[in-house]
């Protein structure tokens, strides 16, 4: 099947492998990620203020592009997902906002028709973890992996609707499907410090340490994440555990991690 795909700025740059592993794994699972043409950066964070219109236009354009193709829009980066999903929710539920936005849209108006899926949701709901499990060639048996959700994937829960915001299991189920053992730790849904690392590196350092230490104390030997900024903050602030993208783990298990083109 084909889905629209919004990679986002970081996946074209510092997190190239998050993108690359996502594409390879998708192919291996029979899903084609069709990159939206001429996409623009989502802006990294969703501005909750109702009078912010311009900052949300890039997301709406991507959403509309997918709508015209009648495809769901898939994202991998937690930040892109959060921004696009929240924007779509506003388009769907706030007619006043939608009409303001639609003044900037050519031709047909857009009113939140597109289904926004995170890559993890694609795996869970469209492909199915059982199907993923069947495609595993390198079982990750024996690995104890802590899934770090951060804040962007789950919250606000009423909008994101991905999983229980306090007790999520989507990544744990993926880890299980790949043959490894998930390690649940309480701070998996706490913030790493995010963009405040620019303003207060000390705060980000403390928050990242809270996460990494808690994962280690819970007995994990690796942390996975979907967010480039989370990964950066955790590594920069001295995580003792390796921090990798979940797509890397997936690609490894599916046997498509090493580039076979060469």
């Amino acid at each position: 099947m084909k889905v629209s795909y919004f990679p986002g700025c970081t996946l074209k740059n510092k997190a190239v492998m998050l993108d690359e592993y996502a594409r390879r794994s998708a192919e291996a699972l029979g899903v084609t990620l069709e990159e939206i043409e001429n996409w623009q950066c989502c802006g990294g964070v969703f501005t909750t203020s109702k009078d912010e219109v311009a900052t949300k236009l890039s997301s709406v354009r991507a959403l509309k592009d997918a709508a015209l193709k009648g495809q769901p829009l898939v994202t991998v980066c937690s930040a892109c997902h959060n921004v696009i999903k929240q924007t779509n929710y506003a388009m769907l539920t706030d007619p006043e906002f939608a009409s303001k936005v639609n003044r900037y849209m050519a031709e047909e108006p857009y009113n939140g028709e597109t289904q926004v899926l995170h890559y993890l949701e694609l795996l869970r709901d469209t492909v199915g973890f059982d199907a993923v499990k069947e495609k595993v060639v390198n079982s990750l048996k024996g690995k104890k992996i802590a899934a770090y959700y951060g804040c962007l994937l789950l919250r606000p829960a009423g909008v994101m609707q991905m999983d229980d915001p306090e007790n999520p299991r989507i990544m744990e189920d993926l880890i299980r499907a790949l043959g490894a053992e998930p390690v649940v730790f309480a701070n998996r849904n706490e913030c790493c410090g995010g963009y405040v690392t620019v303003e207060s590196p000390a705060l980000a350092a403390r928050k990242s340490a809270d996460v990494a230490d808690n994962a280690k104390a819970a007995g994990a030997d690796m942390i996975i994440t979907a967010c480039p900024l989370c990964r950066y903050n955790l590594i920069k602030n001295g995580s003792e555990l390796p921090v990798v993208y979940f797509t890397e783990l997936l690609a490894e298990a599916l046997g498509v991690k090493e580039d076979t083109n060469e």
Binding site: K14, S49, R155, V196
Partner: protein, 130 residues
């Protein structure tokens, strides 16, 4: 509340869509806030200060730039008050003033390293600058 305070309050409520009177003063937002110690005014104070029109001190405060927008306060609030949206509205009001950008391109060099993801910079600019 004097007239100016009233107008400011109305603007904040309109931008944020938050209704602070729903707050029952339980303090769970501040109990869960990961940036609490960095803030001069805490999430629950944003709610009660906006409600009482006491917005000027908030506009001046560094607290505006320490909120992580992690939505922990939003999701865990038992009354659905959404304090983070208030913080965001006040911050926008502050940075939208001419020349009030909190982050300038020249500040960036200091925080850059080889691994800095683009996401960090675009987010920070969106949050701190207009």
């Amino acid at each position: 509340m004097n007239n100016k305070e009233k107008l400011l309050k109305e603007e904040i409520l309109r931008m944020s869509g938050v209704n602070p009177v729903k707050c029952m003063r339980c303090g769970k937002c501040s109990g869960t806030c990961p940036a609490y110690d960095e803030m001069e005014y805490h999430p629950h104070q944003f709610v009660s200060m906006v409600e009482s029109g006491d917005i000027e001190p908030l506009l001046e405060s560094k607290s505006l730039y320490r909120c992580l927008t992690c939505f922990a306060c939003v999701d865990r609030c038992p009354r659905n008050v959404e304090p983070a949206k208030l913080v965001e509205a006040v911050r926008l009001l502050a940075v939208r003033k001419q020349g009030a950008n909190h982050l300038k391109p020249e500040d960036v060099a200091a925080v850059l390293d080889d691994d800095t993801p683009q996401q960090l910079l675009v987010s920070a600019f969106r949050k701190y600058a207009k």
